[in-house]
Amino acid sequence: MNNKNIPTEIERFDLSARIQHVIMFTSFLLLSFTGWGLKYAYQDPASAWIRFWGGAKMAGMIHRVAGITMLLDFIYHQFYLINQARKGGFRLSLVPMPKDVVDAFHNFMYFFGFRKEKPYFGKFNYMQKFDYWAVYWGMFIIGASGFFLAFPVTVSSLFPMWSIQWIWDVIFVMHSDEALLAIVFILIFHFYNEHLRSEVFPMNWMWLTGKMSIEQLKHHHPAEYDYLYGDKKKK
C-alpha cells in the first residue's frame, strides 16, 4: 500500500469538468423550480411559488436563460471531449459496455446476498454511466423540445403541414413528462448515490475537489485501480 509509485489520491474530474457540473446543476435547479410551477399550475401552491420567483414573467425569463445556459454547457462539453481526445490518453470509460449488464447483475446478486463481493467495477460503474447518459437523453428530449417551445413561430415552419395538428402536443408532453423524469431521477438516484449514502453523507466532495482517495478507488473501482497500478502490485 505504501508503494511510492501509487499516489494517495487521484484526480477524477479536472477543473473544467467541475465547472461544467456546477453550471449544469445550477441551471437544472432553476429550470426545475420555475418549470414545476407551470407544470402544476392548477395545484394550489403553484401561483404562490411562481410569485416567489418574481412572477410569471420573471419565472419565464429565468427558465429561458437557464435553459439556454444548460444547452451551451452541453455543447461546450462536446468540445471538451474532443479536446480531451486531441490531447491523447482519452479512454472511452463512460461508454456503456456488455460488462455493465454483467456488473448490474452481479450487483443485484450482491444485494440479495448471493455474492460476497461487489462487482469488479471499472472507472465508472453502470450507475454512473446511467447518470451521465441520462443528461444526453434529457438534452435531446427536453432541451430540443424546450428550444422548439421557446421559438414556436420559427420552428413551426420546419414541421410538415400534416404534423402540425399533433406535433405541439407531442413536444409539450416530451418537455413536461421527461422533465419530471429528470427531476425524479436526480432527486432519488443521484441524491442517494452522491449525498445520502452513509459513506458520502452529506455529500461526495468530489464535485469540489475532483479527487478520490486511492482506498476509495480500490474499493469502488477495483478494475480501474488494477488498470492503473495492477502491474506494479499484483492483485
Binding site: 392548477y42 401561483s47 413551426s156 403541414m161 395538428q165 421527461e178 425524479v184 431521477f185 474499493h219
Partner: protein, 301 residues
C-alpha cells in the same frame, strides 16, 4: 356653538330621513330601506352596491318601470326602445327585463356590438334562454366592479372561468357544435397555464375570440377563422403564418400525441420503479454489511 351643532344635526336629519320619505322620486337610499334587508333575489347589499361602479346611481335609472302596488308612483315608464328590447330578452332575463335592457341606454356601442354577436343573435333573434345577456357574464349590475378589479367576473384572470360556466357544459357543445374539450384543452395549454400563474400577457378566451362582438367559428368574420386567425395570433406571435396558427384548435389530442404521452409515462414509471428498487436494495445491503459483515462487505482487500 352647541346650538349651531344642533341645527346642523337637525338639517342632516331632515336631508337624509325626512326628504326621501316625503320623496316625489325614489333614490337608492329609499329603495334600500326595504331591499337592503329583504331576503332572496330582491335583496341588494347596500355596502357592496355603494362600492360598485354603479354605486352612485339611483335605482330607477335602470328599474325604469316598477311593477306592483308597493312601488306605485316611485318610477316612470321606460321609453319604447328599452321596452322593445326588454320584451326581446325576456326569455333570458326573468326578474326585470327592463332593467337588463337599460344597460343599452348608457352602453350603446357595446349593445350594438353585442347585437351582432353570436351571443346577441341567439338571445335577441332566436329568443334562446341559453345565450348570455349582460349580467350572465358581468354578474349583478348592483355589484359590478371595474375590469381591472380582481373581483370582476370579466377580469383578465377570471374571464376564463366565466366563459366556462357555459362552454364547459357538454350539452352546450353538442347543441352549438363547438369543441367539447375547449376549456380543458385551453387550460392545459401554455396559454392557460401561464394565465393561471398570473402572466399578464397570457391570452384569455377574449384576447383571441373577442368579447361583446364574439362570432361563431362558422362565421367568416370570426377572428379565429381563416386569414383572421393569422392576424389574431400575430398580435403576440410576430410572423405567424398558416402553418403556425393551425396548432391551436381546442380539439381533443390526436392519437399520436395521446400514445406518445402514454409511452413517456410508462418510461417514467419504469425508471422510477427501477431506481427506487435499486436505492432500497443498496440501503439494505449497506445496513446488512455494517451489522453482519464488519470490515468484510464488498471489500477487495
Amino acid at each position: 356653538m352647541r346650538n349651531r351643532l344642533n341645527a346642523l344635526l337637525l338639517l342632516l336629519l331632515f336631508i337624509f330621513v325626512l326628504v326621501p320619505a316625503a320623496g316625489a322620486a325614489a333614490d337608492a337610499a329609499a329603495c334600500l330601506g326595504c331591499h337592503g334587508s329583504m331576503e332572496g333575489s330582491v335583496n341588494v347589499n347596500q355596502e357592496k352596491f355603494s362600492k360598485s361602479v354603479h354605486g352612485s346611481f339611483d335605482c330607477i335609472m335602470c328599474h325604469m318601470s316598477l311593477k306592483g302596488a308597493q312601488h306605485a308612483g316611485l318610477s316612470g315608464k321606460a321609453d319604447a326602445a328599452t321596452r322593445e328590447l326588454a320584451s326581446q330578452i325576456s326569455p333570458k332575463s326573468k326578474i326585470d327585463p327592463i332593467a337588463q335592457a337599460a344597460c343599452a341606454q348608457c352602453h350603446g356601442d357595446i349593445y350594438q356590438a353585442y347585437k351582432g354577436s353570436v351571443h346577441g343573435k341567439n338571445v335577441i333573434n332566436k329568443k334562446s334562454p341559453d345565450g348570455p345577456v349582460c349580467t350572465s357574464c358581468h354578474g349583478s349590475p348592483h355589484y359590478i366592479q371595474p375590469k381591472t378589479s380582481k373581483e370582476s367576473a370579466v377580469n383578465h384572470f377570471n374571464v376564463v372561468q366565466t366563459c366556462g360556466k357555459c362552454h364547459e357544459e357538454k350539452f352546450m357543445s353538442e347543441k352549438y357544435g363547438f369543441s367539447e374539450h375547449v376549456m380543458e384543452r385551453y387550460k392545459e395549454s401554455f396559454h392557460g397555464r401561464k394565465l393561471k400563474v398570473g402572466h399578464p400577457n397570457a391570452p384569455s378566451c377574449v384576447d383571441c375570440h373577442g368579447s361583446h362582438d364574439i362570432k361563431s367559428d362558422k362565421d367568416p368574420a370570426s377572428p379565429v377563422v381563416g386569414a383572421n386567425k393569422i392576424k389574431t395570433c400575430s398580435k403576440c406571435h410576430a410572423g405567424a403564418n398558416e402553418k403556425f396558427v393551425a396548432a391551436i384548435t381546442h380539439q381533443a389530442p390526436r392519437p399520436i400525441a395521446h400514445f406518445t404521452e402514454i409511452a413517456l409515462i410508462i418510461l417514467t414509471m419504469s425508471v422510477f420503479f427501477f431506481i427506487c428498487i435499486h436505492v432500497l436494495l443498496d440501503i439494505y445491503a449497506d445496513v446488512r454489511d455494517r451489522l453482519f459483515r464488519k470490515g468484510k462487505g464488498g471489500s477487495h482487500e
